[in-house]
């Protein structure tokens, strides 16, 4: 199944390299949900995330010639996406309302107050802390996968994740205590 999905990507990438723009649609439609979610987790804002994801897909299309087709598309694309997010974050400030969740799904099984507290605690973290925590605990990435995505050594992943969790715990203290 995984192999078949990768083959679809390879075919689409090959067509894009041959100038078939429409083939890129396959990659956008397949990965846009993940991309928007990940960008939202980094930026804490859905509007900014849409901009970042769009720009990252355009970057990816233009850089496809440098992409190694033997590797999966999304981890490569993720590096472009986070670069876009950090560039965007340098120019913008968080403005989104905290009345609704943009990172955590409102229909999660936890109580709505817990969801809202988790959302607000996540949003109050630094971008890099928010990114590593959500990649680990929402996407379930292993430490090796995190190291690849974030382009840092595994030891740094562990240390950064530990400190990010600690900060998050402190923010959530009130909820956890109840």
């Amino acid at each position: 199944m995984v192999r078949a999905l990768m083959d679809d990507d390879e075919i689409a990438i090959e067509k894009c390299r041959n100038g078939e723009r429409e083939a890129f649609r396959h990659l956008v439609e397949k990965y846009q949900r993940q991309a928007i979610s990940h960008a939202t987790a980094i930026l804490g804002s859905r509007e900014d995330a849409l901009d970042a994801a769009q720009e990252a897909f355009i970057d990816a299309f233009r850089a496809l010639k440098q992409f190694d087709s033997s590797r999966p598309f999304y981890p490569w694309f993720y590096v472009l996406l986070r670069n876009r997010c950090f560039k965007l974050a340098a120019r913008k400030r968080e403005t989104e309302s905290i009345d609704e969740t943009v990172i955590v799904a409102p229909n999660s099984t936890a109580q709505s107050e817990t969801i809202l507290a988790l959302e607000n605690a996540l949003r109050s973290l630094d971008m890099e802390d928010r990114e590593i925590v959500t990649l680990k605990y929402f996407d379930g990435l292993s430490y090796n996968e995190l190291a690849e995505r974030l382009q840092i050594p595994k030891g740094t992943v562990m240390s950064r994740l530990f400190h990010a969790r600690r900060k998050l715990q402190a923010k959530l203290e009130r909820v956890v205590a109840t």
């Binding site: 439609e29 995330a49 849409l50 355009i58 936890a110 715990q169």
Partner: protein, 140 residues
């Protein structure tokens, strides 16, 4: 047994809870926890946070980016590669070689050529050399 730092033990516990290989053995962690109340409390809090995450999922968007991306890809790429710099370099080098010819005596109009070439490059790149970058950049 040598003393272990609390942070080292807690990181090892986190790794073990995440199903990763921990730097310390279970016995080492247990031994530290039995004598460190702070780490025992921290372990409970770590577990509570994990429980919260187990009940939460990432919010997904249903917005389709393709129409906007398709529209953007249809436009010519605004990126200018190395070619413009190569052309400018060759032109400036050519001018310098021409200037070095012993019998060459360019008039004042020709002497302005490097300036014109440089100005044209800025125009093509849409770059203002006198612009002061006032954007604040977050230190990472």
């Amino acid at each position: 047994m040598k003393d272990l730092s609390c942070e080292r033990v807690l990181i090892a516990m986190m790794a073990a809870a995440d199903g990763e290989s921990a730097e310390l053995s279970l016995e080492e962690m247990k031994a530290h926890l039995s004598s460190c109340e702070g780490c025992r409390d921290e372990a409970v809090r770590m577990q509570q946070l994990s429980d919260i995450f187990r009940q939460a999922t990432r919010r997904e968007s249903t917005i389709d980016l393709w129409p906007a991306i398709d529209g953007r890809l249809g436009q010519p790429s605004p990126r200018i590669g190395w070619q413009i710099y190569a052309v400018v370099g060759v032109l400036l080098l050519g001018y310098k070689l021409f200037e070095m010819l012993p019998e060459a005596d360019p008039g004042w109009a020709i002497r302005l050529a490097p300036l014109i070439i440089f100005g044209a490059m800025l125009l093509v790149l849409r770059e203002n050399p006198f612009r002061i970058n006032t954007e604040l950049v977050l230190e990472k």
